[in-house]
């Protein structure tokens, strides 16, 4: 019996202690009419060897395309120690550290994680993770509505440069709590949120402005201006950031404050996947969130704190639990319970291995690779860059024809060529979002450029004779 250790003798002795005739007796409180007939859609058991063969066949069917898609999930090199540590049974098969004394490993690791995220974002406190970047933005919006005491509003300014899926998820999760979103347009020339687009909202009551940086198109926003504008209009600033980029870019805790206003974003969130978590068809990833100390009691999710034991020795435990569902029930900051602990384990080891210098190298190499890619692809007739703003490691390209067939043709050559933006941003025309990270070599970029040039070759009316 798979994973069940009982011998016939065990079963007999245990039933005897219980005072039951058979295992079936243990289910005698279930009304007989409710009992299930045999399952029919669950196939018979496979041994480990058989299941291994099945999964290997399916994995091989999917193959390993050369990937140039980003759009919220990024392919970075993952150092071998990261998952060697994260899959140790002591981390992998432990539960939430409710029994602190028997969970100091997980607790200290989360404390180190929180410290690292504070360091990267230049914020004061971080939680122990949320589900993913998109749901983290939803939670950030709910938090902003609670935290902004200067605003009566449940409305949030959400620029169209924010990842469109994040916008959908934020609406879906907050909708039943009457949070409303106002879409803010971007400048069609540089793809960024211009101050003039915000001026229409001056004097109106909004709880927060969301700033994604680098934005969905890969462009760098004028974060200082946006932050100061929001603060001048009594809004909180929710920063959606890429943690790898923060090794290179001014951290959200230092945004703005130029004209004597409050310095820094108020809530920082994003997708933690770039920090050592594999792409894996979309998850599990993890969402991160950091804020100012003054808002810590409004923050959702678990938080680990340092304390002392009864002998005065330092240790760690879950803290500020009065915010959480298992204590506060319907008055909790969120219903979140299980988070993404194992992904945080991976991210912590990743950040420890890379350090500030290594992360900066990864960030700079990714930016360089994307610049190389854009340069190579834009040499192809019918391909141009959509925007002229400074960017990080993604770019929108415009094609002279529909994107979907081009991507399909690239896929046939083993290349994942990017994301077609026709559904999310039809106003851009035939727009393609591409990304290259440090994992791409000159040869990889060359393979993509040649394939695209071949696919985009003008159709010849007269064939060469040969």
């Amino acid at each position: 019996m798979p994973f069940i250790p009982h011998t016939a003798d065990d079963i007999a002795r245990m039933l005897q202690v219980i005072g039951a005739q058979s295992i079936d007796d243990l289910f005698d409180e279930i009304p007989p009419a409710l009992k299930t007939a045999a399952l029919h859609d669950v196939p018979p058991a496979l041994s480990e060897m058989e299941v291994g063969r099945l999964l290997t066949e399916r994995a091989l069917r999917d193959g390993r395309p050369l990937n140039f898609i980003g759009a919220g999930a990024y392919e970075h090199h993952i150092p071998a120690p990261v998952w060697a540590i994260a899959t140790r049974g002591e981390f992998y098969s432990a539960y939430t550290p409710y029994q602190a004394e028997a969970s100091q490993g997980t607790l200290q690791l989360i404390y180190e994680y929180q410290s690292m995220m504070c360091a990267l974002t230049a914020m004061e406190v971080s939680n122990a993770s949320l589900y993913d970047g998109a749901s983290a933005l939803a939670e950030a919006c709910l938090m902003a509505v609670r935290a902004n005491r200067g605003s009566e509003s449940r409305r949030i300014l959400l620029p169209l440069t924010v990842n469109p899926t994040y916008c959908k998820v934020a609406r879906n999760i907050t909708g039943n709590q009457q949070v409303e979103f106002e879409a803010v347009n971007f400048d069609r020339r540089d793809g960024r949120v211009p101050l003039r687009a915000l001026q229409a909202y001056e004097g109106q009551d909004f709880a927060a402005l969301v700033v994604q940086h680098p934005d969905f198109f890969g462009n760098l926003e004028e974060v200082d201006q946006l932050t100061d504008w929001a603060h001048a209009n009594k809004m909180l600033v929710i920063a959606v950031v890429n943690p790898i980029a923060l090794a290179l870019l001014k951290p959200p805790g230092e945004w703005g404050g130029l004209a004597g206003g409050t310095r820094g974003a108020d809530i920082v969130c994003g997708e933690g996947q770039p920090l050592g978590v594999p792409l894996a068809s979309g998850g599990p990833y993890f969402g991160f969130m950091a804020t100012r100390m003054q808002y810590v009691r409004q923050m959702p999710g678990r938080i680990v704190g340092g304390t002392l034991d009864i002998e005065g020795r330092p240790g760690f435990s879950l803290t500020l639990q009065a915010r959480e569902q298992h204590i506060r029930r319907s008055k909790a900051t969120s219903n979140i319970c299980t988070n993404q602990g194992l992904m945080v384990t991976a991210a912590t080891v990743y950040m420890a291995l890379l350090g500030a210098a290594g992360l900066k190298r990864v960030a700079a190499a990714s930016a360089q690779r994307t610049a190389d890619l854009v340069r190579a692809l834009c040499q192809i007739s019918g391909v141009s860059a959509a925007f002229d703003a400074p960017r990080f490691h993604e770019a929108v390209l415009l094609l002279d024809r529909p994107v979907a067939p081009v991507l399909a043709a690239l896929a046939e050559r083993g290349i994942s060529g990017g994301l077609d933006l026709c559904a999310s941003h039809p106003e851009l025309g035939h727009a393609l979002l591409v990304c290259a990270t440090e994992t791409k070599t000159d040869a990889d970029i060359d393979v993509y450029a040649r394939a695209l040039a071949d696919i985009m070759r003008p159709v010849r009316v007269v064939r060469d004779s040969n």
Partner: protein, 495 residues
Amino acid sequence: MADLNLREPLIFELSKPGRQARSQFPPQPSVPESAPATWDIPAHLRRGAPPPLPEVSELQAVRHYTRLSQLNFSIDTHFYPLGSCTMKYNPKACNAYAMLPEFLGRHPLALEPQGFLACMYELQEMLKDITGMQRVSLTPMAGAQGEFAGVAMIRAYHRERNDAARRQIIVPQAAHGTNPATAAMCGCSVTEIPCDRNGDIDIEALKSAVSHETAAIMLTNPSTLGVFEHRIEEVARIVHDAGGLLYYDGANLNAILGKVRPGDMGFDVIHMNLHKTFSTPHGGGGPGSGAVGVGPRLSPFVPVPLVGKDGERFHWLTERDVPQSIGRLSGFMGNAGVNLRAYIYMRMLGREGMVRVAEFAALNANYLMKRLIQTGYEAAYPMRRASHEFIITLKQENRRYQVTAMDVAKRLLDLGFHAPTTYFPLLVPECLLIEPTETETKEELDHFCDAMAVIRREMEREPEKLRSAPHTMPVRRLDDVRAVKHLDLAWKPAA
């Protein structure tokens, strides 16, 4: 004594300026004609001082985190009878095959991967079969998000019927905290109803609670009291007759796998905790996966994406295919890798293995309950069969020896066992909620009983030993009050 050596410094304390794990740095790309791209970043958008991250060697990092891991209890190292959490063995094969490079390397927006989608499609089909539901979505990322999806669908259903005033969610007093918290997140109010002496729902209280404002009742069955709600069909009738729906919190699905199907009990929606019943790892607090199953009433509203099949080809179903969907709840398609692990587990268990899960979980729970009663402990519901878990109440011991459930829990750590869930459900005083799961041997359960017998003797003779426990862990009992009063939530570099 040797205690001081048990403390592992913070990674920041191991740091030394200039030290690097150099082989993890990417090569500097050659820059042919133009300047490096990073020079294009205007000065005012660049970072000034580098973030204060640790600077350590690869060995230092590996040793540090390996040592930290050794401070944990886990299923792989200890019996972990944490009630309501289903801490069963996580088969190594599930992880090994989910981590095949083709699966790990796949970008979620790459063209539809047929091998992976075949697994997800079959997982949906198997979960439908097990729960008796019409449609399954694997999108929710944990139990609480599955609950959110369920209640959001319930609200969408009532709204669609022009009955949007239904905002009342009924929960039993013993419900998981996520149930009322979820109701609040979905803009609903919460009515708690009591349980009777046998641990069943107070039917009269239910009858007087339902009205034209009732959106749904949220239930676990077996309940968090560890007993099967026998009048479930009557509960279903009362709520449905009042125009409300039934939500099944699948936290306790392990108890009834292959025995009873929530769909057959009359439930309209269920979330499953794949990290409990289907043995994906708990990972120190996640990731989980909270797949939802729905009956005919809620089928149009399921969260996307789902996996569909056209002939031999698998594809994602999106908002376009499910126009009344409550939409997306995650950036991509939920915790795909967790779902893959659950799929592998289910294939290894197979049809016949599903039923055995419930049977042996029940055998272990009932055996352990009986043995603990023989050891002198009081079961909260001794007249009932245990499901996959049961409750011991220490209210007598608390009165007689001034020891608490928490003291017993901490002392168990000293004796080599992870503690059961303490103080949940809230309505049973000084309680331990104990869930052994089907993967433990009789010997392990007997050792646990031996430890509980030792604790019983200590209660009588030296209760102080319990009150000051644990004694052998890396730290003694921690001061949670201090942790809140003097918030220390991040290491800071010396000024």
